[in-house]
Amino acid sequence: MLEVREIDAFYGPVQVLWEVSFRVEAGELVTLVGANGAGKTTTLRVLSGLLHPRRGQVLFEGKPIHHLPAHRVTDLGLALIPEGRQLFPDMTVEENLLTGSYLPRARRSRAESLARVYQAFPRLKERRHQLAGSLSGGEQQMLAIGRALMSQPRLLMLDEPSLGLAPLLVKEVFRIVEEIRAQGVTVLLVEQNVTQALAVADRAYVLENGRITLEGSGPELLGDERVRAAYLGI
């Protein structure tokens, strides 16, 4: 479904990604793990069209998308839940969700999408007239997930959804991610929470200093000594 081929990405003169390659098959839950500053967010910015790579290709269902602006990428069915939620703080919860279905393609089934999001996150329904900026961290993450689902993505990318959440909420977020996948949405999950990410993933890639250094199934990497030493502190 998604194929990343030897991406080099820069911020100005500074190179951040080197020949990054990986793929995500339809229906999979793939995770990209790595330390802070490894280039995970940059990779997702490239995939979503917010940053254009200097070399390499991103193919979505066989078609190159790395030159498209972000709004076109979203229209193809690739949604990103960015790091730090990036909600619209001065809009209500419901307005945030409606903005998620801005695209004509998603607007057609807006009412059903909204009902489904409210069913999955009753808290959001309770607070639908509240400003997004006034929500708690956990509620904001739910809203960010709900907003992305409103665009009816076929591939959902999440950038550290568990960041800054209490342990109980982290578990909840991982449960939701698995549920989204169970409903037929392909998932690319970026996490620093390596243990839990590897536990839910079909396959995983390790990103170190802007390069993919390891790949394997979730359980494989969980058992890998290098991974255990570097990320799990064992």
């Binding site: 960015p82 909600l87 809009m91 307005e95 903005t99 695209l103």
Partner: protein, 292 residues
């Protein structure tokens, strides 16, 4: 005594009627700033362009200024769209504040173009209702200004409804609050910026039409209105569209009271004095969130 009260009310009414138009001028500037973080230094020149287009239409075809509104507003909107698409937008996304030189330059081109096309002498148009008034409780209302005020109220209300109730309005607010996140929702933020700049110029052009029947115009009138638009916008809080309404009315009233009670020759100065006073007391503007 009674006469004194009536003259005060008269001055307030005149100030509020003009202030409504100032509000509209300020809203255009404020909206563009809120979404693009660009101060359009040519805002007043676009207003001047609206005036001269109305003047030209009146002279060439006898078209009444109020009937010229749709044409001038559409022309202004189209010009705003193209200006942002071709000139301002590319500068706005650059790392330097190149847009400042760009918009200042556009303003110079417009005012000098007007000088070339229309000459430097003050011009005005005279309609049957230019000086018409009606009386209400001893206060006299200028007919064109009252009509202009009514149009302004309708336009501002429509704009407010658009921003809060429509798909485009949500896209505009989303782009203002977080452009990258807006892109991720599928919003073409470049188009949104073009649309917002178009709306800003359309509002300035409309203000130009509405002011023409009560004003003499000269090619440099734009810079006066760019300055007034700044005052209105800063009074209301940068990027705060509702605040600009309060800022506009306040500016209109300050000018009018100053002209009535102190000296009409310094009308423009009183607005600036009120502006400085407000800034001294409330640096974030009348309605801005004060920085703690």
């Amino acid at each position: 005594m009674v006469e004194g009260v009536i003259s005060l009310v008269q001055s307030l009414v005149n100030g509020l009627l003009t202030g409504g138009i100032y509000a509209m001028v300020g809203i255009g500037l404020s909206l563009v700033f809120g979404v693009m973080r660009v101060i359009n230094f040519a805002h007043g020149e676009f207003l001047a362009l609206g005036m001269y287009l109305t003047l030209w239409l009146f002279r060439a075809t006898g078209l009444d200024p109020f009937l010229a509104i749709p044409i001038v507003v559409l022309a202004g909107g189209a010009l705003g769209w193209v200006t942002n698409r071709v000139l301002v937008g590319p500068m706005a996304s650059g790392p330097e504040k190149g847009y400042i030189l760009m918009t200042v330059g556009i303003g110079l081109v417009i005012s000098n173009g007007l000088l070339l096309g229309f000459g430097a002498h003050p011009q005005s148009i005279y309609t049957s209702y230019s000086t018409a008034t009606f009386q209400l409780a001893g206060v006299s209302f200028s007919l064109p200004l009252t009509l202009s005020f009514a149009i302004t109220v309708v336009v501002i209300a429509a704009l407010y409804g658009m921003l809060n109730r429509t798909e485009l309005g949500r896209a505009i607010r989303a782009t203002a609050q977080n452009p990258a996140a807006a892109e991720l929702q599928g919003i073409d933020t470049q188009r949104v910026r073009n649309a917002v700049f178009a709306i800003g110029v359309a509002l300035a052009s409309l203000a130009g039409v509405l002011l023409l029947p009560v004003l003499y115009v000269i090619p440099t009138v734009g810079s006066v209105f760019t300055r007034k638009a700044f005052v209105v916008t800063v009074l209301g809080g940068m990027g705060n569209v509702l605040g600009a309404i309060g800022g506009g009315l306040l500016l209109g009233v300050a000018e009018s009271l100053g002209a009535t009670y102190l000296s009409s020759g310094y009308r423009d100065a009183f607005g600036l004095i009120a502006f400085l006073l407000v800034l001294l007391l409330r640096p974030a503007g009348l309605f801005g969130r004060s920085q703690a």
